[in-house]
């Protein structure tokens, strides 16, 4: 689904990504881990178009992808759940979800029931303002909102950060379900090793803006991956 080659990115003169090469296949969870400042969030921003890449090539869904702005990429099927959730605090839960409908053709602009089946709490809190939700509820809302855009590629940046254990389990189940349906490619940026290892099919470790290690679950043991992750 996604093929990246030699991706570079700068923040006003400072180079953060030094040529990242990675692939994310459909129906798989690709996990990106690494130390702080390694470039994981910058990579997500580059893929989603939130921050323009400086160089390198990207192929998405079989076609070359030029440097497009984020809203165009969202319409093309790249969904993004950013670090920190970024819920619209003054909009209700329903309104937050509805913002995802902009990516769909007019006739299909309706919140699918499936979102509420996945995250029942969103139905309960439908008319509460986004800012009144707890962290765990906001995270569910953020994922729901991204799913409404019918992404072919779902980018998730640190979805478990600051979330209580039982909601982490729920999120894990949702990711597994989405992966098993086989239609989406999922890229997961995580620092929480156990969560990431259990879900991922493919691993990359980013260090200083480059992918220094990559393997698939089939090829490496848990210890090997953990060792690479801590290097």
């Amino acid at each position: 689904m996604l093929e990246i080659k030699d991706l570079t990115l700068h923040y006003s003169g400072s180079q953060i990504l030094n040529g990242v090469t990675m692939n994310a296949a459909q129906g798989q969870v690709t996990c990106v881990m690494g130390t702080n400042g390694g470039g994981k969030t910058s990579l997500m921003k580059a893929i989603s178009g939130t921050h323009a890449r400086s160089g390198g090539s990207v192929r998405f869904d079989g076609a070359d992808l030029p440097k497009l702005p984020a809203h165009k990429l969202a319409q093309m099927g790249i969904g993004y759940v950013p670090q920190g959730r970024m819920i619209f605090p003054l909009l209700t839960v329903r309104e937050n979800l509805e913002t995802g409908l902009a990516c769909l053709p007019q006739a299909e602009r309706k919140i699918p029931d499936r979102i509420f089946e996945m995250f029942p709490v969103l139905k309960e809190m439908e008319n509460r303002r986004g800012g009144d939700l707890s962290g765990g509820q906001q995270q569910q809302l953020a994922i729901g909102r991204a799913l409404i855009t019918r992404p072919k590629l779902l980018l998730m940046d640190a979805p478990t950060e600051g979330i209580q254990p039982n909601i982490i389990q729920l999120i894990g189940q949702v990711i597994q379900q989405l992966r098993d349906e086989g239609e989406m490619a999922i890229i997961l940026v995580e620092q929480y090793f156990d969560f990431a290892f259990d879900l991922a099919d493919q691993f990359y470790v980013l260090k200083r803006g480059e992918a220094v290690f990559s393997t698939s679950k089939a090829q490496a043991t848990r210890d090997e991956v953990q060792a690479a992750f801590s290097l």
Binding site: G37, G162, P165, N166
Partner: protein, 246 residues
């Protein structure tokens, strides 16, 4: 061990929502305590009350040997009294360098005139360098804080807390954004600090809490649901139901 902070029967309501409900909490001068609980249980609001950001509707908050009430003090006075806080979201001065952030936090006189004539002494400089080393930002010390990564900003905020050298450290989700190694480093740091400070840590990472090896308080819907060793609270059915999952 004497009680450093004593919170008794505190309640606060926002727009009809009872965020804190008759909460009581105590911590000693050299104690490490973990506070866990569902998102929205009131952990952050609890810290807001202790640090003076939110005034409770009822209850008392007493500090130190003399039992001063913190409720009549401004946030700055409470911080000067020796309570330092690291926020859930990295709250550092993004426009300024790592060095300047640490310098501003350093425990020195807080008045405007003192600030105008402040000279960073050799001892100050050494302390800043020491902290920068501890938080892993020694080679980034002149960098603008705003371009640090999320995890690095967390570390910077921890560094600022260390620089403040408070008597009570309120640390809200320190593990967020950290690698496994960094989490181990942080638990070691917090345990070391608890040897001569009071440290309250809010966290969701149960492994992290386990390594802290301390008393655990579980908050739920604004009051204390359970308290005790980690094994004790993890075995509690109510805690499993509202928080841990099966």
């Amino acid at each position: 061990m004497s009680t450093l902070l004593e919170v008794q029967g505190v309640s606060v309501t926002f727009d009809g929502f009872r965020a804190i409900n008759n909460l009581s909490f105590e911590i000693g001068a050299t104690e490490l305590r973990a506070v866990i609980g569902p998102n929205g249980a009131g952990k952050t609001t609890f810290m807001d009350i202790v640090t003076g950001k939110t005034r409770p509707d009822e209850g008392t908050v007493r500090w130190g040997d003399l039992g001063h009430s913190l409720l009549s003090m401004s946030e700055a006075k409470i911080a000067q009294a020796g309570i330092g806080r690291k926020f859930q979201r990295p709250t550092v001065f993004e426009d300024q360098s790592v060095y300047d952030n640490l310098r501003v936090a350093l425990k020195k006189p807080r008045g405007p005139l003192a600030a105008i004539f402040d000279k960073t002494s050799d001892a100050d400089g050494a302390r800043i360098a020491e902290i920068a080393e501890e938080i892993g930002l020694a080679d980034q010390i002149q960098r603008q804080a705003g371009i640090l990564s999320h995890g690095q900003k967390q570390w910077l905020e921890i560094g600022m807390l260390l620089a403040q050298d408070p008597k009570l450290l309120l640390v809200d989700e320190p593990a967020a954004g950290m690698t496994t190694e960094e989490r181990e480093h942080t638990t070691a740091l917090l345990k070391r600090l608890a040897e001569n400070h009071a440290v309250v840590v809010v966290e969701h990472d149960m492994e992290f809490v386990r390594r802290l090896d301390c008393r655990v308080t579980v908050l739920h819907e604004g009051s204390v649901l359970a308290e005790g060793s980690l094994n004790h609270v993890m075995a509690d059915d109510r805690v499993i139901e509202v928080y841990l999952g099966r």
